[in-house]
Structures are given as C-alpha cells and as structure tokens.
C-alpha cells in the first residue's frame, strides 16, 4: 500500500519539475520580402498569366530555416523560423515581380482562373544556408516551367543563385537568401517574358 503511493509522489515531483521549468524564448520570425531592383518590362498587356503556388519537397515545405554544416545533412535553426512557409512568400514576390513587368493583362493565382492564359509552375529545389564553405553562402535553386494556353509545356529553366553571407549567423543567412531570391526573381521574369512573346 505504501509503495504505490511513493511511486505516484515521485512521478508528480518529476512532472512538476518539468512543468515548472522556465519557458524557452520565442524564435525570431524571418521573412523573404526583397524584390529585384531592376525588373525587365514590356508594354504588351495582351496575355494573362496564371501563377501556380510554388511546390517544395518536405525538407523545405516548413517554416523551419534549414542549414547545412556537413555534406548530405540538413539541420534547422532552433531560435530562428520563417514567418510563413517559404513557398508562400516566394509566390507573393513572384506575382508582384511579374505584375511589375507590365507585360500581362493580368497575373492571377488560385482561386482566380482565366482562360486562355499562360501558366507558370515553380518548384523550390533548394533553400539552405550552407556553412560547409567559407565564407558560408545562402543557396537558392528554383525550377520554372511555362505552359502554353493549350496546356502544352513551352519552356523550362533551373535558376540557381548563391549569395555569400556577411557573417556566419542565421540573420546574415536570411539577408543573403533575400538577395539571392531577388536575383532569381529577375531572371524568372526575363525567362517568362522571353517565352510569352
């Protein structure tokens, strides 16, 4: 009769220690919001463009910020997170960039549809802070595929950008990722304009 009572008391003491431990600080929320400084532009306003939400593999379809210290290994920062999933932020920036080209009658995304229109598919292949190099770099790789109004693939391109980081810190990595993404968006706009003339 006494042994069970002692076991329950010990469990409560251990759980109380755990529950009464001081809470960890909230992780810092980072965003991707840098647009290209120079966006290619054409005054056509003839076609509509439908931008599908960017797709990402499970490794990058998360708000956790990935880093790499050793080849073939991926880690996530403890105290830094993306404010939104990167695919969502990249979609917003991509639509804004394509709108600013002035080449399209409208740039749409889900749930708005327009037909006939061109369609742009985007896949995030890599979005990582690479600490295996010195100085470390932020690396971004995107795959773009443009579809004709009939649904037939028109063209595809892989865009890879590396931006050296100013310091070996998560925030410096986020800043470098923003620069790399701005360059990738300008290249993506050129690619779309070249194949929708």
């Amino acid at each position: 009769m006494r042994a069970p009572a002692l076991a329950v008391a010990a469990a409560l003491l251990l759980g109380g220690c755990t529950l009464l431990a001081p809470p960890r600080p909230e992780p810092a929320r980072e965003v991707l919001d840098e647009l290209p400084k120079q966006i290619p532009s054409e005054r056509r306003h003839t076609a509509a463009l439908f931008v599908l939400p960017p797709e990402a593999g499970p490794a990058y379809d998360t708000i956790r910020i990935a880093y790499r210290e050793r080849p073939y290994q991926l880690g996530y920062f403890r105290d830094h997170e993306w404010a939104e999933p990167p695919a969502q932020m990249i979609k917003t920036l991509l639509i804004e960039t394509l709108k600013r080209t002035g080449a399209f009658r409208s740039v749409l995304t889900e749930p708005d549809f327009a037909s006939p229109t061109y369609t742009l598919r985007t896949e995030i292949l890599e979005l990582v802070q690479d600490y295996t190099r010195s100085p470390p770099v932020a690396r971004l790789a995107l795959r773009l595929e443009l579809l004709a109004p009939t649904g037939r693939p028109l063209a595809s391109r892989e865009i890879t950008r590396e931006q050296p980081m100013q310091a070996a810190t998560p925030y410096a990595g986020v800043a470098a990722t923003n620069h790399a993404l701005a360059g990738a968006l300008a290249e993506a706009a050129s690619f779309v304009l070249d194949h929708t003339r």
Binding site: E69, F77, R78, D79, T169, A172
Partner: protein, 309 residues
C-alpha cells in the same frame, strides 16, 4: 403615058390620105364616144402620177390619166378618161394609189383607183362653170418602198437622237452587266430546272405515298392540337410563369455563384492550404512521438544551429 401614071398615083395618094383622114376622124369620134372625161382635185402630192397612167374601177382597167396639172400651190387637178361603161356615180371615190416597190420606173407605178363607197346613186353631174364632172378624191395611198425607207430612216434618226444621250459608257456597261446577270440567271434557272427534274425523278411512287402519309399525319396532329387548344393555352401560360420563376431562380443562382466565387472560394482555398500544413505538422509530430513518447510531456529540444550558440 407617064403623065397618066403620075396622075393616077397622085389620085391614089389623095384617096388614101382622104380615107386615112376619114378613118382617123371616125376612130376619134368612135373612141371619144366610148370615154367620158372627169376631173379629180386633190391636196395630196401626186408623186409618180403621169399622163397615160391607168385608171381602174374596182381593179378593172377602165381608162387613163390624160393630164396632171397644178391648180394652185397645194392643189393638183387630174384629168382622166373613163369608159362610159364604167359605173361612175355620185358615190364614186378616186384614190391615187401606188403599186410596186417604187412610184417610178419598171419596179412600180401610180394609178387612179375608183371605187363606189355606196350603192350607185345616179350619174355624176357637171358642176356649174366646170367643163367635166368631178369625182371626189380620197387621201392618196402612195406608200412605196422608197418612201417607206425614207420614213424609216427619218424615224431611225429621230430615235438615234433620243437614244444618243443614253448611249454613254456607263449605260453600255450597265446594259452589259445586266446582260451578264441575265445570263447567270438563265444558268441558275437551268440548274433549278435540272434540280426540279431530279426531284421529280426522285419523287417516285413510294416517296409520294410516304409524303402523303406524312401530310395525313400532320393533319391529324393539327386536328389534335386544335381540339386541345385550351389545354395548350394553359400549358403555355404555365410555361411562361415557370420561365419567369426560373429566370428569377437563375439570377439568384448567379448571384450566389458570384458570392461563392468571390468570397467563399478564396477562404476555402486558404482553408485547404491550412489543412495541408496542419496535416504535415501532425505527421511530423506523430513521427516524433512514436520515436519518443515522453516528448508529449517533456517536449523536444533542438540543438542550436550555427550562430545560435
């Protein structure tokens, strides 16, 4: 002896001359006793009528024209001798008539035609102060080929003057286009005729019978429709009322669809995305808990990343 012969010859010549003169007198007297002289006065031109021209009564030669002379500027006096046997009377009318192609020469001549316009009504009297009886004149009928040609040429010239303003290039082009259109119309009519013939050929007895049956069926349908007129009217009224209701329903549906499209669909899309995110998070949590169930109470700790130490 010679003088005797000469004397005899003179006597013979004188005798012959006397006999000839006597014969001429007798012939003259006899012939003048056979004919009677008449006058005709006409205001028509007597072109081609000359002395010696024949005089016919109802187509029979009964005398000749002896003189044609102008009485004044527009009156011609014609003197003619007509056999006393000819039934000239008060009802006789003379017409200057041409026969043949022309009024002159071997291809035609002009003569006087006498006709009674009424039954004979007594001999023609001599008017006072005139030497011969006058036969009434009818309008001349001198219509020969040359006058006809001349008249035709005049008419043709008049016609050409009338047509000249119309005969410009535009009119000719228009007439040409009209002719081409007529030609095309003719071709179309030919095609139509062929089609009609083909249709007539295709309409064999079976087809005609089938058409007849169809017509009878149509008549029956029309009879049924006529018999059910009131019901049809009611049906039509109901259909109109229903169509109004359906229109209102469609408008409401459109409004609802627009609302769905503009408001509900975006929210639904975001909800789907959130569900997907939640599903992935739950999957990760389930994986971690299956590896370390105590993490449910104690939580998990990530190792610090670069720059987080």
């Amino acid at each position: 002896m010679a003088s005797n012969v000469h004397w005899k010859a003179r006597l013979l010549f004188i005798a012959l001359l006397f006999i000839g003169g006597a014969g001429a007198l007798v012939w003259n007297f006899w012939s003048s006793s056979r004919y009677r002289t008449y006058w005709i006065e006409t205001h028509d031109p007597a072109s081609g009528l000359i002395a010696g021209a024949p005089v016919e009564f109802h187509g029979v030669n009964v005398g000749q024209v002896t003189d044609v002379a102008l009485r004044d500027a527009d009156t011609v006096r014609i003197t003619l001798e007509v056999a006393k046997t000819a039934p000239v009377s008060k009802a006789t009318v003379a017409t200057i008539t041409a026969r043949g192609l022309t009024a002159w020469g071997f291809s035609g001549y002009v003569y006087i035609a006498l006709e009674n316009t009424a039954p004979a009504s007594g001999p023609l009297p001599i008017a006072p102060g005139e030497p011969y009886p006058r036969i009434a004149a009818a309008p001349a009928r001198i219509v020969t080929m040359d006058t006809m040609v001349a008249q035709s040429v005049d008419k043709l010239q008049t016609l050409m003057q009338l047509l000249e303003p119309l005969a410009n290039e535009q009119t000719v082009a228009s007439v040409k286009a009209s002719l081409e259109s007529l030609q095309m119309l003719s071709h179309s009519l030919d095609g139509l005729q062929q089609s009609a013939e083909a249709l007539a050929a295709a309409l064999d007895k079976k087809t005609v019978a089938s058409l007849k049956r169809s017509l009878e069926g149509l008549q029956q349908v029309s009879a049924i429709l006529a018999a059910n007129g009131k019901r049809l009217d009611s049906l039509i009224i109901n259909a109109e009322r229903d169509s109004r209701d359906i229109r209102a329903l469609v408008e409401t549906s459109n409004s609802t669809l627009r609302t769905l499209n503009a408001q509900v669909l975006p929210q639904f899309s975001r909800a789907i995305v959130d569900l997907e995110t939640l599903s992935r998070t739950m999957n990760g949590l389930a994986t971690r808990l299956s590896r370390n169930p105590s993490a449910l109470v104690s939580g998990t700790t990530l190792p610090p990343g670069p720059g987080e130490r």
